[in-house]
Symmetry: C2
Subunit: 215 residues, 2 copies
DNA sequence: CGCGAGCCTTGACCCAGATCAAATAAATGT
DNA sequence: ACATTTATTTGATCTGGGTCAAGGCTCGCG
């Protein structure tokens, strides 16, 4: 029966769904909300290694210990598949494997683009890059265009941004203020972002790829 | 016939096999030698996003523009497969897709571990981590144990190390000197490294995973 | 409405690693 | 061996972003 292999779970913002080292008895895909994948060193230094948006996949067939913490940054609904039956399904249905390979390759490319960001970009470029990513990925859901401005909600706290960008929260805050001062973005509250000129933001991100569609 | 789908090519150290943006008419796997995958920004800032050792796979079925430069750091022999027939093979032989997914997931994990390194580790930890990786991966080939010391050749120049670690070559050089001064490694010439106490090196790498076998 | 508890911003200062600049040391060719 | 070129080390100095330390918002709650 389907309901023995597939079920839904929801989590509150801030909740850690999975701890690194946990035994994973399911793989899952995000239905609604946003979560982070992160690694923590013994001394507490934290690096977020992935942002999960709706439709993103979590977990790895053929491994049963979780390698990262998975934390809900907004309320999250996940669609979980018990691992055993999912793996059988995977073996019997080549298309799923095909699709999974495709998704994994996309994630690998995203990870590598992030490596460039972490290794070589300035704090300002990092922030601009993150805003571009969030604008693009949140676009399908909540983004609005109002009088030519792109407007969206930043789901991450300053600290979560810092952990994803390899910065401190103070630096994130300062660079947000600086981008605002320079008219690249404007803020209402701390989370509502509007971008009057998206090309300008792309320039600030220092990105060779314009728009980020698959090269 | 096999020879229409599969063929070998060799490249000299320093040669760029593939430029980002090139049309790729093949996928390939490394037979001998070491290559880097790297991204370059317009202003020249370079980040290496992957090291390719023998048996590693290059290229992505279902995409025909290369996303990164691939550069031989030693002389390299590659085993190339023309893309069209390879993709057909992939569709008709589920095991290959299976294996490819496995390899891609491993690369994704490696990329994410490198994100932690790039975002959060100090220069000294970065160098130590790189030495650990090279020692582990080069182990199968050329590493020797001599009187309890692990001895191996570093295939990368200081600049290539810097590009992989998100540092400058001067910092790489200083940290190598510092690790040597502190007895963590010793150097004969600039490339022959010996490690008297591998656990000490692991500590210096600040790594939670000891040894790096799949968690 | 006022009180906390989280977030977020801002300022002052510091330091790891970048930059600039020589001086060596290795490789390569003749 | 010698000249040339290419790596590497080392020193001096600078700076982007970290650290430490106040305050300010904001939102939920009594």
């Amino acid at each position: 029966m389907l309901d023995t292999i597939k079920y839904y779970r929801s989590f509150q913002a801030g909740q850690t769904l999975i701890w690194a080292g946990d035994r994973m008895e399911f793989v899952a895909s995000v239905v609604t909300g946003i979560a982070t994948l992160s690694q923590v060193m013994e001394d507490g230094r934290t690096q977020t290694v992935g942002l999960l948006f709706p439709s993103d996949f979590v977990g790895r067939p053929g491994r049963d210990l979780a390698p990262y913490d998975v934390t809900a940054v907004t309320d999250v609904m996940m669609c979980c598949f018990r691992k055993k039956p999912f793996e059988e399904l995977l073996h019997s249905t080549p298309n799923i494997g095909q699709r999974l390979l495709e998704m994994t390759l996309d994630e690998l490319d995203a990870a590598r683009e992030w490596m460039l960001l972490l290794g070589r970009k300035t704090a300002r470029e990092k922030i601009a890059s993150l805003l571009v990513i969030v604008a693009q990925r949140a676009a399908s859901l909540e983004m609005r265009m109002a009088k030519g401005k792109m407007v969206f909600d930043l789901p991450l706290t300053r600290e979560a941004m810092a952990d994803y960008l390899g910065l401190t929260l103070e630096t994130v805050s300062r660079q947000m203020s600086s981008l605002k001062r320079d008219g690249v973005i404007s803020l209402e509250g701390t989370r509502h972002v509007s971008v009057p000129d998206f090309d300008r933001l792309l320039e600030e991100a220092g990105d060779d790829t314009d728009g980020g569609f698959l090269g």
